[in-house]
């Protein structure tokens, strides 16, 4: 059980972003998704969270195909993107109230306040999100997902906007999710940071997986692959 991709391909017009990707993710996996720009990382993440659907192949979550109309499967999926996905003209508290209610998990005011305090946004809870910095919006998004508790959490380049304590906060949240049996997939160019956390690394290039191994120490094969395929990020 977990997440299974079978011969998944995705084309945008005549351009193939992913080709014949086979992948199995198990509960508790913390996966670092690496690759140069245009390798297909974001496409893979968007397929995994059902924002896109494959051109061919199939994706299963806990044995169920991730097709259109599978609303209950979407409640298991979380996606943190760099733009935060927060309504600017709603306050931090209203954003959390709206998204949790829409996901069928109506929260009490005290629970929302606790989540905001946890990410350090307590004093800004009644301020419009437009007044928050990018980093603070990212913290707000972390608070949102901490309330929604996804079993399968995807992140697209989350490190860019967060300061040091923000990164610590995010990583502690991700570790807790993994310890609870969730699957975390993080696409990033911050290789050194994510290597300290992940239990497995995937390298994508040209729409295909060219490296997929569980973490071990020393990890010579990864460093070789990394040097061969991602010299610019070494």
């Amino acid at each position: 059980m977990g997440v299974v991709l079978r011969r998944v391909s995705k084309a945008y017009g005549f351009l193939w972003a992913l080709r014949d990707v086979n992948l199995t993710l198990s509960h508790g996996d913390f996966v670092a998704l690496l690759g140069p720009n245009g390798a297909g990382k974001t496409t893979l993440l968007r397929l995994l969270c059902a924002l896109h659907y494959p051109t061919s192949g199939e994706i299963e979550i806990d044995g169920e195909p991730l097709d259109r109309g599978k609303i209950h499967l979407r409640s298991a999926i979380g996606f943190l993107s760099p733009d935060g996905q927060i309504y600017d003209k709603l306050t931090a508290r209203e954003n959390l109230r709206f998204f949790t209610s829409l996901s069928g998990k109506e929260m009490k005011s005290a629970e929302i306040s606790a989540a905001l305090d946890q990410v350090g946004l307590g004093p800004w809870s009644d301020v419009y999100a437009s007044s928050l910095s990018h980093g603070m919006k990212c913290r707000l998004a972390i608070a949102k997902w901490s309330l929604l508790k996804p079993r399968f959490f995807l992140l697209d380049e989350p490190y860019g906007v967060l300061d040091g304590p923000g990164v610590d906060l995010l990583e502690s949240f991700l570790k807790n999710l993994c310890h609870g049996g969730a699957i975390v997939v993080i696409a990033t160019h911050n290789v050194h940071r994510v290597l300290g956390l992940c239990t497995r690394a995937l390298i994508l290039q040209g729409g295909g997986i060219i490296f997929d191994e569980p973490r071990r120490e020393p990890w010579k094969s990864f460093h070789e692959a990394f040097a061969n395929f991602l010299p610019s990020e070494a």
Partner: protein
């Protein structure tokens, strides 16, 4: 969670955002009023022709004003890049369609409540006695405009020239609803002798039901990137 409850939350968000931004509704008011004055000064309608011409002019004002609202319908999502966040939520995407239809309907009805009497005053139209039945017909036409307009607003969401594309696709498809509303209003105003009122009413109700059902069912495909 029920689709209606999700529709309620989405509508709550849209209304709150509009109250705080105050952009779309104000623009609609100004545009609608300006159109009425332009019509008033451009057409010198003989008194005996007013009942025949008025519904068409009034509907032109409504659909032009409504198109303005349709182009702004997903503005909140665009500005905050929140469409993905909505699509990630475990909800029937039809709820998003219903919420946008109701939101658009609220906006148009609010504007119509002001424009309708103003039109009567400007064109010396003695329709006060018929106001409830006229407004009922206008409401049916407005629902038709909103159900179809919301669908095409979502369809052209990522198009480059959305403001140009939307009316080009929408207006031809709106012809049955426009025709039904204008004819039904003319009959009510006594300008359509020998014509029956109820077939036009049935056309409007059928239009609304068919496109609202179709919109609800296909919105999942329409809203996808």
């Amino acid at each position: 969670m029920g689709t209606l409850k999700q529709t309620y939350w989405l509508l709550w968000k849209d209304v709150l955002l509009e109250i705080r931004r105050r952009e779309t509704l104000l623009s609609m008011f100004f545009f609608g009023t300006v159109l009425l004055f332009l019509f008033h000064f451009s057409f010198e309608i003989p008194r005996e022709q007013t009942a025949r011409m008025a519904p068409g002019l009034l509907w032109l004002a409504f659909i032009f004003t409504g198109t303005l609202a349709l182009t702004q319908l997903f503005q909140g999502e665009k500005e905050s890049r929140c469409l993905d966040a909505l699509l990630l939520c475990p909800m029937d995407r039809g709820a998003l369609y219903l919420a946008k239809v109701f939101f658009n309907l609220i906006m148009m009805v609010v504007v119509e409540v002001v424009i309708f009497p103003l039109f009567g005053v400007l064109f010396n139209l003695d329709f006060w006695r018929l106001l409830p039945s006229l407004f009922f017909v206008v409401l049916l036409g407005t629902i038709g405009f909103c159900v179809l307009g919301t669908l095409f607003s979502a369809l052209t969401l990522r198009a480059r020239a959305k403001e140009l594309l939307l009316p080009l696709i929408l207006f031809p498809l709106m012809i049955p609803a426009i025709l039904g509303t204008v004819r039904a209003m003319q009959i009510l105003l006594g300008a359509g002798p020998g014509q029956e009122f109820y077939p036009w009413l049935r056309l409007l109700i059928g239009f609304d039901v068919i496109f609202m059902t179709a919109g609800f069912l296909i919105f999942e495909w329409v809203i996808e990137e």
